[in-house]
């Protein structure tokens, strides 16, 4: 709430500054001249008026792109530590698909993938942080749902990872259990404020099973409780389960049960009401996919610039008099910058969760549409 109010107050304080559009500017000046004429008794009325104007001025405040350019970096909301998606490495740098996606957006905007600052958020804090303007992008293994797109005022830009919710148990302690349908009566560890929590309730209810939820706010707390044996079952997105298993005391003892009980399309989200920023983030994602489809990699992107293929030339901004990048609000070589910074989608996937990572997750439905998967980008033209 403080965030929401402070955004507005900043808008009001900056009343007559040039970054405001004419509408806000006029009102700001009008207030200033008239205020001088008013006598002391009218101060209260003046404040009431100023309050209204402050609100209106903020409505006309600068766009996210301008804000980001002015401060020189992108504020990116990530998880508090989920291997493969966003977790700090031994040097304290954030690694993972979600962290790299923010670097890709920074590369598109600044031509430099390092101009990102990360804000670790719990599941409960994440939406408020985005709504209040504390972060510019929420890239935090967050499931895209209709409620979040409408009532929460967010815009999901796409699905960077198709996931589904699964269950993990300690096979050593529960040798007979090999299906989620045998879990009636179990204590289930789950993170609060997630779609996982809701799917869990639905799944046990529809299968007429009982369970005892053990709910924590932070991922680390859930991990510790499961590892200590406070609950029998751990449930979250399957990719998350593989990541969490690596952090347990004895990873080999734990198995992920075969059932997938939900669709969890994970993707980055931005605030509503700023179409330009929404498009930049969305097309960064599509550019990553397009680069993979065209075989443009981190290693060959410079050579590809001189390619004869008109599509590659167009995507990399080498076409004469191209306006694709500038129309988006970034430079024309934005795709080159993105790929140079993080590689294409395939490289990003393999490095963080696939064969190049300890998680060893197969591409599966996250493969490109040309290879039987669901990842598909509209044409960049």
């Amino acid at each position: 709430m403080g965030g929401i109010a402070s955004v507005t107050m900043r808008g009001f304080g900056n009343g007559p500054e040039p970054e405001l559009r004419s509408h806000g500017k006029k009102i700001g000046l009008c207030l200033k001249t008239e205020k001088g004429l008013w006598v002391m008794k009218h101060i209260a009325i003046g404040i009431l008026g100023a309050a209204t104007l402050g609100v209106m001025a903020s409505a006309a405040s600068a766009s996210t792109l301008d804000d980001v350019k002015a401060k020189g970096f992108i504020q990116c909301g990530v998880s508090t530590g989920l291997a493969g998606f966003s977790a700090p490495d031994d040097k304290g740098d954030w690694q993972g698909i979600d962290a790299d996606f923010c670097r890709a957006v920074a590369a598109a905007v600044f031509g430099d993938g390092s101009k990102v600052k990360f804000t670790p958020l719990s599941a409960k804090e994440r939406f408020t942080a985005l709504q209040s303007g504390e972060i510019d992008i929420l890239s935090r293994n967050t499931t895209w749902t209709i409620n979040r797109d409408t009532a929460l005022g967010l815009n999901f830009i796409g699905v960077t990872y198709y996931d589904g919710q699964g269950f993990m148990i300690n096979a050593k302690k529960l040798p007979g259990v090999n299906s989620a349908l045998q879990l009636s009566g179990a204590a289930v560890c789950v993170q609060s404020g997630t779609t996982t929590e809701l799917n869990l309730a639905d799944y046990f209810k529809s299968n007429k099973m009982e369970y005892n939820p053990v709910v924590f706010e932070k991922l680390e707390e859930v991990n510790a409780a499961y590892d200590a044996g406070r609950c029998d079952v751990y449930t979250t997105d399957q990719s998350g389960l593989y990541g969490i298993r690596l952090t347990l005391a004895a990873p080999a003892d734990h198995v992920v049960l075969p059932e997938i009980i939900s669709k969890e399309p994970l993707g980055p989200a931005v605030r509503q009401g700023d179409d330009q920023w929404y498009h930049i983030v969305k097309w960064t994602y599509f550019a990553l996919l397009q680069a993979e489809e065209l075989g443009i990699t981190k290693a060959n992107v410079e050579e590809m610039k001189t390619s004869d293929n008109p599509e590659i030339k167009r995507v990399l901004g080498q076409e004469a008099d191209t306006k694709i990048g500038t129309d988006l609000g970034v430079s024309n070589d934005w795709v080159v910058n993105i790929v140079k910074a993080v590689g294409n989608y395939g490289e990003l996937f393999e490095r963080n969760v696939g064969s190049g990572s300890p998680l060893k997750i197969a591409r599966g439905i996250n493969a490109l549409w040309t290879k039987g998967g669901l990842q598909y980008a509209p044409p960049i033209r």
């Binding site: 009431l48 409505a59 879990l183 404020g193 005892n212 200590a228």
Partner: protein, 395 residues
Amino acid sequence: MASQEILREEPSRGSFVNDPKVRSLFFQALVVVLLVAGVWWIAQNVIANLTRLHIASGFGFLKGRAGFDISESAIAYSSDSTYGRAILVGLINTVIVAVVGIITATIIGFIIGIGRLSHNWLIRKICTVYVEVFRNIPPLLVIFFWYSGVLAVLPPPRDSIHLPFGSFLNQRGFYFPRALWGDGSWLIFVALLVGIAMAWFVARKAHQRQMATGQQFPVFWTSTALIVGLPLLAYALSGFPLSFDYPKQSTFNLTGGFQVSPEFLSLYLALSCYTAAFIAEIVRAGIRGVSKGQTEAAAAVGLRSGSILRLVVVPQAMRIIIPPLTSQYLNLTKNSSLAIAIGYPDLTATAGTVLNQTGQAVEGVLIMMAVYLVLSLVTSAVMNLVNARMALVER
């Protein structure tokens, strides 16, 4: 005298603007207007920004289906219940832990506080160490100590520790038999109520008789016999209608019986131990506050040390103790929101989940603030009543 005359004349000489009365009224009015304007401005800001960001607002969401489960609930609740009911479940959980915590903290606090004034060196030192240890550790660490340090290292359900009366203790909590009341068990409760009423009556009569004649009556033993004996008699007369549901081992956990979760236990123990340290100091200060002459005078008329404490010192000490005690009760209630760290579903936890599932942060936080405010005001009101009864009656 001369200066007074000048003061009296000044208002008439000065203009309207310099009149202190008008000035004072003006500035008071100004503060009120500024305050109202400030609040109005913040409210307008929030509303305008919520609209601008296309975030839903209003309290209509309370009627929506919650969709999530809560591990502990004193009232009927399922994922089909409403968000409003989920918040109510959290509120009741907060009240439960606060009430039992307050009772336990008061008992421990009085024992430790009196212990610190003991003539026995060992008891005095043990009580000092208790106070210094718990008073100087943040309550969150005390909660973690009980949760991760004591209860989490208990054996898993398969190797539960067997306790007397069919109770079990393991890392999933404390299990004990649940009483199943059969037909005719209402008679036992009636007998209990009658027993309590009669004990109260006996105590009153005995007091009157002692005041009139100086003769004492064994009130304690009579009362105990009435309160315990009458229900037992009723139990036998109604044909022993009581049976127990014992906890049993199942695939994953113990089922049946009554379960107290480790989350509740650790929060309850931590809050009780922590607040008791402060209450002990308040009690000690209260007793110290009673003049030594009172004790000596009581001893001089021949009262024994127990009677001196009960009849002379404590009633006077209570007047000093109760006001700061209220603050400790409020602290305990508010500290219960630390439950979120160990996953006990108190108000902060359930309202927080509702807030996150609906995205309506402003409303969610407003509800939480209002509820804690009401809880604190109710506690204060009750303690003020007690304080008023304890206050010195001037004759």
